[in-house]
Amino acid sequence: MITDTPNPLEISTDYPLESTRAHPPMLTPSYVFTRKRAPHRPLRVIPHTLTELSGPIYGHDSVQPLDNDLTKQGEGEPIGERIFVHGQVMDEDGRAIPNTLIEIWQANAAGRYIHALDSHPAPLDPNFYGAGRTVTADDGTYTFTTIKPGPYPIMGLNNYWRPAHIHLSLFGPSFLTRLVTQLYFEGDPLIQHDMIYSTAPESSREAMIAKFDMSATKSEWALAYRFDIVLRGQKNTHIEA
């Protein structure tokens, strides 16, 4: 991201700004919806104050036991390929981030969202709502059981298909560790054609691809994918043990 200089304040940022270069720029013309929504003026750097360094706290009391099993939220079993998605949430220095909320949402196996405005002519599944929540354990790990989402077309664009993906939302320890991203599945041929995946710099894109994880598959039950999530981390707080 381009930033204004000079700035009259002496800027002190607890979380390095450099690591945010892994994010897509605001304007990526090939993803057409950025054209009228990306600001023209560069983002302004400001110091990190308590406002930015604190953030909302949603711990274990904010989720219920079945919130992380999207196959158990309806009356019966949803249709599709049952999968287990797991991983670890950590900061940019590799330190585990415990007790942080993860929210996910996704299409069903047919590529259809429950959302009222999804007009893709694919069936809804009465037993699948496509949303879940969990809070990371002490070692930063998390698990979801769900149905592998189907690819879906962006309606109104000519033969444009999104790769299968799961949307994720995380808080982390402060308001500036907030992250909304998408998880893609290793081996999906649509990934290389996706304008949204490709908004991210080449050097960081692969961090959004979940890896098939044979060792975590559940016999006679579910396949598994591993997806680690890396949030921004604070400078100078890490001492090598």
């Binding site: 897509p24 993803y31 009228k36 709502y129 960081s204």
Partner: protein, 195 residues
Amino acid sequence: MVTNKPKTITPSQTVGPFYAYCLSPVNYKFRMLASNSLVTKDVEGKHITLRGTVLDGDGLPVPDALIEIWQPDGLGRFSGHHPLLKTAEFKGFGRAMCDALGLFSFETVKPGGAPMRDGVIQAPHVAVSIFGKGLNRHLYTRVYFDDEEANKSDPVLNSIPEDLRSKLIAKEIEPDCYEISIRLQGEGESVFFDV
């Protein structure tokens, strides 16, 4: 436990148009985690409405925008961080979806001033994140209030060219109701921060 240092942070992606069932299930049956009302029985502060619009580069509404706010209570204390608010019902966090006209509104309390790192008190403000289709990364801004003397000495406001400051300041349009216009691009573009 320290694992290997990762190569990169996980990049942001657009929230897309279909997040409502999970993030703001006002019209769905999923349990709400955060709504557009921050007011709780235990909260200290004056109740206010904070409302506004989100418009795109053509001045058209952004009906799919999701707004998140984060703020201290009326005494400038952040929930979960201030020793006296460790277990407060007041969360200081809200979420609101825009309607077809790009309008959003929050019921909250007027925040008190929160400190900078050097102990200087900032003018009362609310932190605002804007998510939407076509926003590869959420936008971050602040909303100040037009009836606060402290705006004149706020270090962040003062770091911004004078002609742009007003874009960060909500106007009290009727008693206890403040309004802000968020213009993503072009004429009247808001001020967004790189934090």
